[in-house]
Symmetry: C2
Subunit: 123 residues, 2 copies
DNA sequence: TTCCTTGTTCAAGGTTTATTGAACTATTGA
DNA sequence: TCAATAGTTCAATAAACCTTGAACAAGGAA
């Protein structure tokens, strides 16, 4: 399981692939949650998204997000810690991720960006 | 041919559908060209995109763009005049279209946003 | 009217996608 | 060593997607 994961370099990140990733509701929710937790420096692991779908389906979406250059994954023990590649994305496509995250936040009601229980406790 | 075309209202425009539209290279090129010509108030007709693909394939993409709320089409004689729904999009998703257009412009080389001949005469 | 132009619609095709469950690997902890 | 945990990979399936060409509809010009 310690196979090195391939990530595209900054320059290899392609706009259509990024937009395609963001156009899927589950992937948008993943990116949204990564963006939220990025602000306090937290990395998330696969299990943190279990409310969004089944494990194998999530693994499929994680691969797409990693291949498109949206997120970085590092392996720590039996966990995968993931974070948004914000600096790279901002450098390649200034303002894009920001606009998407903010637009998603405004439409949070229709988009189901988080699990039901997480919506409940908005303390 | 004078059937009224259905356009979603501003509020009905959905983020995932918009991003999905923009993730296809042909549709991104259409939106890009609409955005360029919008600045001088020009509307474009279907034929203006003939270099991008065949007519029936373009009609398919036009329908998707219209259904997603990205562009408005009005019928004038035997032509369809199309424009970007910039105000509606900016109201729903501030900064998004701008970031996408600018990112596309930067990557113009890889994206083939215009026909070969148009790239040639950059006068 | 007749033809030409503009553009849509339809059916068919091949491709890619998202989703599932079962089987598997690797690490941790008892 | 053994079991539990975290996550991947594989095969299968149904749905959606993009593309093509042929047939169609409507307006403008001769």
């Amino acid at each position: 399981m310690a196979r090195p994961l391939r990530h595209p370099t900054r320059d290899e990140i392609e706009l259509p692939l990024v937009l395609d990733c963001l156009s899927d509701p589950i992937r948008l929710a993943i990116v949204y949650q990564l963006a939220q937790h990025q602000r306090d420096g937290t990395e998330l692991c696969c299990g943190d998204f279990n409310e969004l779908s089944g494990k194998s389906n999530l693994a499929y979406h994680f691969t797409k997000l990693r291949d498109a250059g949206l997120m970085q994954t590092r392996i720590v023990g039996t966990n995968r810690l993931m974070k948004l590649r914000r600096e790279d994305l901002d450098a390649r496509f200034p303002g894009l991720i920001d606009a998407v995250i903010k637009s998603a936040a405004r439409d949070a009601g229709r988009l189901s960006l988080v699990a039901e229980c997480e919506i409940a406790d908005t303390d």
